[in-house]
Symmetry: C2
Subunit: 356 residues, 2 copies
């Protein structure tokens, strides 16, 4: 499982997703959808019933490959995102993790520098080896025009789960640690920067052609804390990856960053994922014109479908027609989404023609 | 209870809060704190135990006056906000409402134009009369330098509770109604604009000197929907109030509005409440220099206290020293807050001197 795999030659010309991330405007914008593999698909629910628990699914190359491919067969998006979870990194570090139906993830919380001693960074890649195997299999299985997207949670977001012990309404405990003991909290963040960089490095070596960093809870921090705990760790991970894999583009997704999206555009990312609340007329002026933007349809639009969804899709395509764009949602697909609405979205984007 | 009360002459010179909202810079910034009356205070918890349920507390002029005054006695802030709840308006409109300990509010949901027939706008002021009586009593009871702040929820935020039937993680049902049937949803919003305007009109006639509109969930909408369901209703309420009470300033608090804060600064508000995530260096450049800003300390800073809190307070005071500012939190005080940290905050702001 640890055998190095030569990085695949990137077939840029065939992959619209890579072209857009390199600052070009393909014949039409590429698209993929966050959580495109998931509970809204009957074939996913069927496989979940057979698979047992969620972690086993993530760690099974057979099943994770199959789940990743399910939406590709149905909708043929321009990107396939590895099926995994952002909490595999803390789990691989040795933090106890359980997914309970309806309750979300439950972790044995880490709340002090002393608790960090429970983590074992050395064992990470052994535990994550099945994920790398999934990437290798996907790399061989995907159609030639579909880019393989690897991913990880950004350190701040992963840290919130590690500290809170699960999902949280106000991220109170993570914030308090970060505010009251920034030097101690920095040790957790540094540990996550290292583990995440290594994890993504292995994903790229196994065949991931694009990386996305999910900072789902970037929007809850004051500006000074955002700069230290969201912007700086992502800058460092991006820098480390650039040293080793200069041709692999990285998309940052600092959900809820508001006006701070402008600063996220300055740290060397190739793409910037926009949540549904970002005003496109503002962001156009706030980030460099060559930077690829990704987003930002509200997932509830995909639930209702119809003319309202079509109008919202066209508004995004029109607003950003003259710059590199990856069409996507502003957040993950929700389980209530009818798959036929995803098919309609795919048809709409596929029919679009970029201005020449 | 319906007897008209003459609007009090406003003693601007004695009230720093009003001076700042009129674009002036007093000797030091005024301050008050969202949820300054609440569960973090032992005297509030004691009174709650005696009072029975939360709605009875809101509708009792004796108890609501006492609760409003509790933090004034302890900390002598520059503003006293009426103790009430943003869901009194739907309740007064006839929507069933219950507050259950731990679960938050439970409402009989309104999910279609047909459901709107269950609301009875004509009966609103009879039900809200005790709130107006509380305002009258507070108006007489407050120290001469403390401004009385009336408030309401902004229509979008109130609508989310009415449609969801309570608090909600993603506001899915409210969004879907607004996206799929904007004309129908507009009827709910119009009804709320009218009821809220009349409610605030009565609060002002009873003695409220400042109004704040809480749009707690403004940050969850795409830009076009934000403009229609957050910005436009607040503009209309502000306009109606300006016609009748041109001297009563209005503060808008579109929590989570991100880059759209810049647009909220263009609709005639006297103050703009900033959530904790708004970067002050950005907002300085994005809104007119005479517009009073309010905020934006993270409530978790008030939980940890100490040097980190002091530094964060000074950073806000320094960043906005040269413009009208009301010092406040970026969101409500949380129950875990030690009251002595609030006292330390008050002392810190009171010791500050504006540059002359």
């Amino acid at each position: 499982m640890n055998a190095a795999v030569t990085e695949k030659p990137i077939k840029s010309d065939q992959k619209r997703l890579l072209a857009a991330l390199r600052g070009r405007i393909p014949d039409r914008p590429p698209f993929w959808l966050m959580r495109q593999a998931g509970r809204y698909l009957p074939e996913y629910r069927e496989l979940r019933r057979q698979a047992g628990n969620f972690l086993e699914l993530c760690y099974s190359p057979d099943l994770a490959t199959e789940v990743t491919l399910q939406p590709i067969r149905r909708f043929h998006p321009d990107g396939a995102i590895l099926f995994a979870d952002i909490l595999l990194v803390p789990h691989a570090l040795g933090q106890e993790l359980d997914f309970r139906e309806g309750d979300g993830p439950i972790l044995a919380p880490i709340r002090s520098v002393a608790d960090l001693a429970r983590l074992r960074p050395a064992a990470v890649h052994e535990r994550l080896a099945p994920v790398y195997e999934t990437v290798r299999r996907l790399s061989r299985a995907l159609p030639a025009d579909v880019a393989l997207i690897g991913f990880a949670g950004a350190p701040w977001t992963v840290a919130t789960y590690m500290v809170e012990g699960g999902t949280s309404r106000d991220h109170a405990l993570a914030k308090r640690w970060a505010f009251a003991d920034p030097a101690g909290f920095q040790r957790l963040i540094d540990l996550l920067i290292d583990a995440t960089t290594a994890y993504l490095d292995h994903q790229i070596e196994a065949g991931a052609e694009v990386i996305q960093l999910f900072d789902t809870w970037a929007g809850v921090l004051p500006a000074a804390a955002f700069r230290r705990w969201c912007l700086e760790p992502v800058r460092r991970i991006r820098g480390h990856l650039a040293d080793r894999h200069p041709n692999v583009p990285v998309i940052g997704f600092p959900r809820g960053a508001g006006a701070l999206y402008a600063e996220m555009a300055t740290i060397g990312l190739d793409g910037l994922g926009l949540d549904a609340a970002v005003p496109l007329d503002w962001v156009r002026g706030a980030v460099p014109p060559k930077l690829c933007l990704q987003g930002n349809l509200d997932p509830q639009m995909l639930v209702i479908g119809g003319d309202a969804m079509t109008a919202a899709i066209r508004e995004i395509l029109t607003s950003l027609a003259d710059r590199p764009l990856i069409f996507n949602l502003g957040h993950g697909i929700v389980p209530e989404t009818p798959p036929e609405h995803v098919a309609a979205l795919a048809a709409e984007v596929r029919a679009w023609r970029s201005p020449s």
